[in-house]
C-alpha cells in the first residue's frame, strides 16, 4: 500500500490512468514489471507461502460480512463514516451504480481470474499469453471510451491526480509488483479472492486497509503536487521489510528442505 500511495494508485488504477494517456502511469508500469521480475526471482530461489488448507466454510463469510456491514453503514448511517472531501478518493459514483458495477466487475474478474501480476508473470516466465490478450482487449476498450468521450490526453503534465516524479512513480509500483508476486496476486485480485471466501486474501485486504491508514496518517500519500518528504523514508522501511520477509522465507524453506 505504501508503494501504491507513493505512485497514487494500485496497478489497476495504473492501467486506467494509462488508458487516459497519462504517461506517468507508463513509468509506473515499467516499475511494476520490474518488481514482478524481482518477485519471480525470489520465487525461483525458493520463496513459498507453503501449503494452504481448506478451512471451515464459515471462515469464508467473514470478509463478505464485513463488506455488507459497511454497506449498511453507508446507506443507513453515513454519519458514522468519514468521507474524502478532496483529491482522487473524493470522486465516486452514486451508491447503486457502484454496487451494480462492482458486482459485474467482481463476477467477471472472478471467472476470468484477471490479475495484473499474472499477466506479466505468465507472459515473461511461462510464455502463456491468454491473459495478455484479455488485457489488450480491455485497454483497447478503455482507450476507445476515453477517445470518444474526450477524456484522452497524452502527456505527463496534463494528467489529473498524478505527479510527474518519474523515480517515485517507478519505485512505488516496483514495490507493489514485488510484494504482489510474493502474495500470489495484485491488490485487485486479492480483493476478488477475499470476496470469494479466501481467508488468506481477506487478511491481505485488511493489511491493505491498515497500510492506507498508515499512508494517510504519516503523510506518505502523494498528491498532484508531488511526493511528500516522508515518502522516501516510508519506501525504504517498506522495501527493507519486504526483502527481509522474502529472504527469511527463502532461508527457512531451504533449512526445512535439507532436513
Amino acid at each position: 500500500m505504501i508503494g501504491a500511495f507513493i505512485f497514487i494508485g494500485c496497478p489497476t488504477t495504473m492501467l486506467l490512468r494509462l488508458a487516459r494517456g497519462d504517461l506517468n502511469a507508463l513509468v509506473g508500469l515499467f516499475g511494476f514489471a520490474g518488481g514482478v521480475v524481482a518477485g519471480m526471482f525470489a520465487l525461483n530461489k525458493g520463496f513459498s507461502l507453503g501449503r494452504a488448507y481448506t478451512t471451515k466454510k464459515s471462515d469464508g463469510f467473514v470478509f463478505p460480512a464485513i463488506g455488507i456491514l459497511l454497506l449498511v453503514a453507508l446507506v443507513f448511517f453515513p454519519a458514522i463514516l468519514n468521507f474524502s472531501e478532496q483529491g482522487f478518493a473524493s470522486f465516486h459514483a452514486p451508491i447503486i451504480v457502484s454496487l451494480i458495477g462492482g458486482m459485474l466487475v467482481g463476477g467477471i474478474a472472478f471467472v476470468s481470474r484477471i490479475c495484473t501480476v499474472a499477466v506479466i508473470r505468465d507472459s515473461i516466465f511461462f510464455k502463456s499469453f491468454g491473459m495478455l490478450a484479455m488485457f489488450g482487449v480491455l485497454m483497447l476498450v478503455l482507450v476507445g471510451y476515453n477517445l470518444i468521450f474526450g477524456h484522452f490526453s497524452l502527456g505527463m503534465e496534463s494528467a489529473p491526480f498524478a505527479h510527474t516524479d518519474g523515480i517515485w512513480n517507478f519505485l512505488g509500483l516496483a514495490l507493489v509488483g514485488f510484494v504482489s508476486v510474493l502474495i500470489g496476486g495484485c491488490p485487485f485480485r486479492q480483493l476478488v479472492l477475499a470476496g470469494s471466501g479466501n481467508s488468506d486474501s481477506a487478511i491481505t485486504v485488511i493489511g491493505m486497509m491498515v497500510g492506507a491508514v498508515v499512508a494517510h496518517n504519516f503523510s506518505i500519500a502523494s498528491s498532484g503536487a508531488g511526493v511528500t518528504d516522508n515518502a522516501p523514508i516510508a519506501f525504504v522501511i517498506a522495501t527493507v521489510v519486504a526483502v527481509a520477509i522474502a529472504l527469511y522465507n527463502i532461508i527457512s524453506n531451504k533449512k526445512e528442505r535439507s532436513k
Partner: protein, 69 residues
C-alpha cells in the same frame, strides 16, 4: 516421480513443475486448483510432453511423459 502441489497457490506449482521437468522425463503432478491445473497442463504441453489428466472431486492428477522417449 510424483510431485504433490496440493494446497499450493499459483504460480508456485508451475515453478515446481518447470524445475522438475528440467530433469524428469515422466512425472505425475497432484493439484487441487483449477487455475494451477490449466496453467500446468498448458505449460507441460508446450514443453513437448504428452499429458493425461484425471479429475477426482476437487483434485487433479496430471501424468506427463516426454514425447520423444
Amino acid at each position: 516421480m510424483t510431485l504433490d502441489a496440493r494446497g499450493i497457490s499459483c504460480p508456485e506449482p508451475l515453478i515446481m513443475l518447470k524445475q522438475a521437468l528440467k530433469t524428469e522425463k515422466e512425472l505425475t503432478l497432484l493439484l487441487d486448483s483449477k487455475n494451477a491445473f490449466e496453467n500446468c497442463q498448458d505449460f507441460a504441453e508446450k514443453q513437448g510432453f504428452a499429458v493425461e489428466t484425471e479429475k477426482d472431486g476437487d483434485e487433479y492428477k496430471l501424468h506427463m511423459k516426454a514425447k520423444n522417449e
